[in-house]
């Protein structure tokens, strides 16, 4: 219903034949994001040099490429580009899954508490000076606990408007976990830990190196693979509970699997890049307007578009000012008006 403002005004975008242009747009955004992210910056690299560097990896060393360019591409920008793509894709896929599961276009990993839960877990991990894997594990547990609490309260409170209850519960539980984050920051060593926590809570990829990629790739790939494997069932899961069960879906276990997978990818990206809000809300909508609501197409499209989206944001963050702008601030500047627009269009069509 809420989509009237979006794809429903373009009914021809909905059928199978016209999913291709939608994917083409998503892939074009990803390619544009990749090219910009690799070439633009304090040390500009020309398109020719970029192609040269890439070819030299395949066809052996070439004399006309300066070592500085090579190092910028492979050591500095390469890992960061990979991380941006993975984090963007992860948040978009998680948002898509949550929106379908909760049958609600306004939910996202942030609103359901997955992000704040993961943030508390990760901040505790930093406070205890744990390793990357341990931080990620705690972030995952924190995210799962937060979503579990939100979901339990949201479904057990009887209300005429369960969606409102769910969103409000998410806000309340999120702020409770936020208080926990505040407490850990208050207790943290102000010279070593606190700046790291603060910087990380605003979202950043600036410190990403090759060694950060492994703990990110694994969980994101695993969680996304689970969600994509379940894509046909997710269509049915986006129907009212009793309807889904009457169609033969064991909704209980499946819901747990989907929430766990979406929380896993969210936590992995939070543990790597900190809190980057709004991506999980904005990108699923854009993807849905490109390829329609069918999860079989929506999940891959959201992953591709999310990767490109965060690449563009991260390039802006690096280049917009003399100092790096935290990613969470840029995504909020874009996400807030988008959410308000969405709320307005939902109000119009739901009443």
């Amino acid at each position: 219903m809420y989509l009237r403002a979006g794809i429903d005004s373009l009914p021809h975008m909905n059928n199978a034949r016209s999913a291709l242009p939608g994917f083409a747009v998503a892939i074009a955004v990803l390619i544009a994001g990749l090219l910009l992210a690799l070439t633009v910056g304090r040390y500009p690299v020309s398109l020719g040099d970029l192609i040269g560097v890439l070819l030299s990896k395949v066809g052996g060393p070439r004399g006309d490429i300066s070592p500085a360019v090579e190092s910028v591409i492979w050591q500095v920008r390469g890992p960061r580009v990979m991380a941006a793509m993975l984090v963007g894709a992860a948040l978009a896929v998680a948002g898509t899954a949550f929106q379908g599961l909760f049958r609600n276009p306004l939910v996202s990993p942030d609103i359901l508490g997955a992000s704040s839960g993961a943030a508390l877990g990760a901040v505790v991990g930093i406070y205890l000076s744990l390793g990357v894997f341990a931080i990620q594990a705690i972030a995952f547990v924190g995210g799962l606990i937060a979503v579990g609490i939100v979901y339990m309260i949201g479904t057990s409170v009887r209300s005429r408007d369960p969606i409102l209850v769910l969103v409000l519960t998410g806000v309340v539980v999120g702020s409770l976990f936020g208080a926990g984050v505040g407490l850990v920051k208050y207790l943290a060593d102000p010279y070593n830990q606190l700046p790291a926590m603060t910087f990380w809570l605003l979202g950043s990829l600036s410190a990403t190196g090759v060694h950060d990629l492994l703990p990110l790739v694994g969980p994101v790939a695993a969680g996304t693979a689970v969600l994509i494997a379940l894509r046909w069932r997710m269509n049915v899961m986006s129907l009212p509970e009793e309807e889904a069960r009457a169609l033969g879906v064991a909704t209980g276990p499946l819901r747990i699997a989907i929430v766990a997978a979406a929380t896993l990818v969210t936590s992995a990206s939070v543990a790597t890049a900190g809190i980057i809000g709004w991506v999980g809300l904005v990108v699923p909508h854009l993807a849905r307007s490109l390829v329609g609501p069918d999860f079989a197409r929506l999940l891959p499209a959201a992953a591709i578009l999310g990767g490109g989206y965060l690449l563009l944001i991260d390039t802006l963050a690096r280049t917009l000012a003399q100092v790096e702008i935290p990613l969470g601030i840029l995504t909020a500047v874009i996400g807030t008006p988008f959410f308000i627009w969405l709320l307005a269009s939902v109000q119009k069509t739901w009443s």
Partner: protein, 253 residues
């Protein structure tokens, strides 16, 4: 094959809605469930579908206790047509009907060529093939009801349970749905539906089951059961009966 409830006590966690209910539905037969609002119709429906566990008694399908079958197995035997509702996502009509094939594939299965073919033939059967690529959110209430019927038939069930299939439909579409219900029974399915209109029961059902305050008031062939006196007792309101050479109709008085 029969779907039957034995001495059912129905209700939710914190309250009991009805007790001592016996229901029996044969294949090829249409049973109409009538009763005032809040009388337990929907609760009984959900219990017979296995969506709600009975608090006492048991639901049996083909002699086996319903809860002994897996949720997938049940969906291949009983289909549910809920009241039409506004969907959250703008799935195409074809995608909605394809969801009826869910129970025929495993957890990771994608729709097969056969699934697509069955979905297409169901759309054809209800004369809505031209809507296949339209968003479900953008079609009329009558069309939505037909889409949900097509989805239920795509499950290839033995029984179909419909919750107020004629609510929210205009006069013409009400007639169409009644005809389809008769056609389903003629093709061998057992059909159970709830309705607020005794005339729909008269028209489409073989048997009627009158439910008031969670108790059975009467049950039997519609022609015998649906009388002015019984309907007045059922709804607690005056009812007029009009009879002529072509049949009988009831009007709330």
């Amino acid at each position: 094959m029969t779907l039957e409830g034995h001495q059912l006590t129905i209700g939710y966690q914190d309250r009991i809605v009805g007790t001592g209910l016996d229901v029996k539905l044969q294949k090829g037969e249409v049973l109409a469930l009538l009763g005032p609002n809040g009388g337990g119709k929907t609760t009984l429906l959900k219990t017979l579908l296995g969506l709600l566990a009975p608090k006492a008694g048991e639901v049996r399908l083909d002699g086996t206790v319903l809860s002994a079958r897996s949720i997938r197995e049940r969906a291949r035997l009983i289909a549910y047509v809920p009241q039409t509702h506004v969907a959250t996502f703008a799935f195409t009509v074809e995608a909605v009907v394809l969801m009826g094939r869910t129970a025929h594939g495993d957890l990771f299965a994608r729709p097969t060529a056969k699934d697509h073919q069955i979905a297409a033939s169901m759309l054809e059967r209800f004369g809505i093939a031209s809507l296949a690529q339209r968003p479900y959110t953008m079609i009329s209430g009558g069309e939505r009801q037909l889409v949900l019927l097509a989805r239920a038939l795509a499950q290839e069930p033995q029984f179909i349970v419909l919750d107020e299939p004629t609510a929210n439909l205009d006069f013409g579409n009400q007639g169409k749905v009644m005809r389809e219900i008769r056609a389903l029974a003629a093709s061998g399915l057992g059909v159970l539906f709830t309705t607020h209109d005794p005339n729909h029961a008269l028209r489409a059902a073989d048997h009627a089951y009158l439910l008031r305050d969670g108790a059975r008031l009467a049950e039997g062939p519609v022609q015998q059961i649906l009388t002015r006196e019984r309907l007045e007792a059922l709804y607690g309101a005056p009812v007029q009966m009009i009879t002529d050479a072509t049949g009988t109709a009831f009007i709330p008085g």
